[in-house]
């Protein structure tokens, strides 16, 4: 039974020039203890997916349809149908989030520990302050911070420490799912490495489900059990991470994987995907990747390919996928 089941999620932004089709039919399942990486380029809608799931949308966002089934073991709830005050109970407690540039999401005039205590008291009003402080001390230990630092202010923390504090905050209400949106993008590699390893460890320990959102496929490779590749508002491919990296079928996945430089292995010639991602005000007809695709046919330019399961747990939206060795098509 998946803890989170998203079906045909559609959300568009209304602008003066028309609708930006940022989330256009997204579906996936996420089990407890599992991590899903959503990889895509800036503006492909990956952050909008998480904001739609959490219903933290700006005023110009229009929810157009779809379902977000959440099940923490006590029965399935479709989050999109809940009134706002009901929904609030699921944020942080059910699904919490580590935002992009999270280090700036701490309030500079409150002690770090107090900010987490406040979150706990908000969601568990029966807790005493002492209990909450004890819980924060445990969380600090868990994320690798010295509990003595609870009573310090954010400016007394380094970038990596703030990131750890934000992770503690996200864990404070025992969520079943955490969405981490570019959690380490602003950090240097050595700190990034430590934080990612820490997050993986915590996830396994608490058997949480995680969604990592990033443009960096190397980061996604490190932390994800399965990977969804997003392009222009849609998932184009979704499979376990080894399949995505070693045997991609979608030409965009293939292009992304082959255009990424690495310090390991032989130095291969990098692949260049021609052109630029489309403007989501007027995405191309048919497959949105067709104008940049080396495999595109007439049909691709005419008809939008459906997102189908081509083998167990491997989903693909493509009329003319990359051939695998020894396969006809």
């Amino acid at each position: 039974m998946p803890v989170l089941s998203v079906r045909d999620l559609v959300m568009h932004y209304k602008t003066k020039m028309g609708y930006v089709k940022a989330v256009d039919g997204i579906s996936f399942d996420l089990n407890a203890g599992e991590s899903l990486g959503i990889v895509g380029e800036s503006g492909c809608g990956k952050t909008s997916v998480s904001m739609t799931i959490l219903r933290l949308l700006p005023d110009n966002a229009e929810f157009r349809g779809g379902h977000v089934y959440f099940n923490d073991g006590s029965g399935e709830v479709d989050l999109v149908t809940l009134p706002e005050d009901e929904m609030r109970k699921y944020r942080w407690k059910g699904i919490s989030m580590i935002f992009q540039a999270a280090m700036n999401s701490l309030n500079p005039v409150y002690r770090v520990g107090d900010q987490i205590v406040e979150a706990i008291l908000n969601h568990y009003p029966d807790t005493t302050i002492d209990e909450a402080r004890k819980k924060v001390a445990e969380l600090f230990e868990l994320v690798g911070l010295d509990p003595k630092r609870m009573d310090q202010y954010p400016h007394q923390y380094s970038g990596g420490m703030k990131q750890r504090a934000v992770i503690a905050l996200a864990l404070s209400c025992d969520p079943k799912v955490i969405i981490a949106d570019e959690p380490t993008t602003a950090l240097d590699v050595i700190v990034q490495d430590k934080i990612l390893k820490e997050m993986k460890k915590i996830q396994k320990k608490l058997n949480m489900a995680m969604i990592y959102i990033s443009h960096d496929i190397a980061v996604i490779a490190e932390v994800s059990d399965k990977i969804a590749v997003m392009y222009a508002g849609k998932f184009v491919e979704l499979a376990d991470s080894i399949t995505i990296f070693k045997r991609p079928r979608h030409p965009y996945t293939f292009g992304l994987m082959s255009s990424f430089p690495s310090i390991t292995g032989e130095k291969k010639k990098l692949f260049t995907i021609p052109g630029e991602p489309p403007n989501l005000l007027n995405p191309p007809k048919g497959c949105r990747f067709a104008p940049r695709c080396f495999n595109a046919t007439e049909k691709c330019r005419r008809e939008d390919p459906p997102f189908l399961e081509i083998e167990p747990d491997h989903y693909l939206a493509c009329w003319n996928p990359v051939k695998r060795e020894g396969e006809e098509k």
Binding site: E41, I263, I273
Partner: protein
């Protein structure tokens, strides 16, 4: 159009650029009566050379002084001490005309194409501005030159880009405009400061390839500044690793990646994420976190974080950069002796 003619001062040197004992200190705070009491040693005694046609990568984490090094080299910052020699001529000799000639030869490409282009200027004005400043060519010649460059950087047809404003362009296109502008005076040396780090993956490779192609066509040399070792691998023949204002290791790219010697380089290489889910990463052997080089004590800059430090490292000055294998330089007492 009047092409740049090298003047009689040009002395051919083996190197396009030599940097000797370069230092750049910034005041960290001011005491009573504005006297500076503490200094950030952003660049602290850095020495390296770049050969004609070579691309040297300057790699390090944020705050290590790599961008400051670049800015001093293009004369955007005045060095505290040290020498910069361009093709055999010291940079101080270029001061007579306010570095006008120097900037014909040395250009910089910045990280953020959203900030480095004037939003009120058209693509033509942006690229032709240096020609204007240097009084090169008439309007028609400038238009021809700009069109030629747009073609070269892949913004085709040039006529459809020439009169656009930066906000009408994507990030990748803007960076191509910035590259065209850097090339308009036919420089021999370009400092590229993270030119692709703001770009999307699918666009980035194109810009990287473009820069390699242009280097060949125009016979230029690069100082390529980046935090990303994987990008440096593709763009540079040699890599210098910087830590708190010092170069701690310098070697040919593949040699540095395969046989890193300095403990910091080793830790950095272990921490770099690898785009392969089956790759088993090790644990970087490094302690603590990076500090700011404010009045650093006279010892190895890496001392606080080093896994192999000894008493000597604490007592003696920062170790000199020594050749430990052919063309492989390391600054560490423990590995170089």
């Amino acid at each position: 159009m009047s092409e740049y003619v090298p003047d009689e001062r040009t002395v051919k040197s083996e190197y396009i650029l030599e940097v000797k004992n370069l230092k750049k200190y910034f005041p960290a705070d001011r005491g009573l009566f504005g006297r500076v009491k503490h200094f950030v040693h952003a660049v602290d005694d850095v020495t390296f050379e770049i050969k004609h046609g070579e691309s040297l990568g300057l790699v390090g984490e944020s705050g290590c002084g790599k961008t400051t090094t670049g800015k001093v080299i293009v004369a955007l910052e005045v060095p505290t001490d040290g020498e910069i020699i361009l093709d055999g001529i010291g940079i101080e000799e270029y001061a007579v005309d306010g570095f006008k000639e120097y900037h014909r030869k040395v250009q910089m490409i910045f990280q953020d194409p959203y900030e480095s282009l004037n939003p009120r200027m058209t693509v033509f004005d942006i690229i032709a501005e240096p020609l204007n400043i240097h009084g090169i060519g008439n309007l028609k010649e400038r238009e021809e030159k700009v069109a030629e460059l747009l073609q070269e950087v892949g913004l085709t047809p040039p006529s459809s880009f020439m009169w656009r404003y930066p906000h009408e362009l994507s990030g990748g296109q803007r960076q191509r405009v910035a590259i065209a502008r850097a090339l308009v005076l036919n420089p021999t040396f370009v400092v590229a400061d993270e030119p692709t780090s703001m770009l999307d993956v699918s666009v980035r490779t194109g810009v990287m390839e473009l820069m390699m192609k242009l280097r060949e066509i125009h016979n230029m040399s690069y100082l390529y500044i980046t935090h990303d070792l994987a990008v440096a691998r593709y763009m540079c023949e040699r890599i210098a690793v910087m830590y708190l204002g010092k170069i701690v290791e310098l070697a040919e790219t593949e040699e540095l990646l395969k046989n890193p010697i300095h403990p910091y380089t080793k830790a950095l290489l272990t921490a770099v994420p690898v785009p392969d889910p089956e790759y088993k990463k090790g644990e970087p052997d490094i302690m603590g976190s990076v500090s700011k080089p404010v009045d650093p004590p006279p010892r190895c800059r890496f001392y606080d974080r080093c896994p192999i430090r000894t008493e000597r490292c604490a007592k003696e000055d920062h170790p000199p950069l020594k050749e430990v294998a052919p063309d492989h330089f390391v600054s560490c007492y423990e590995v170089s002796e």
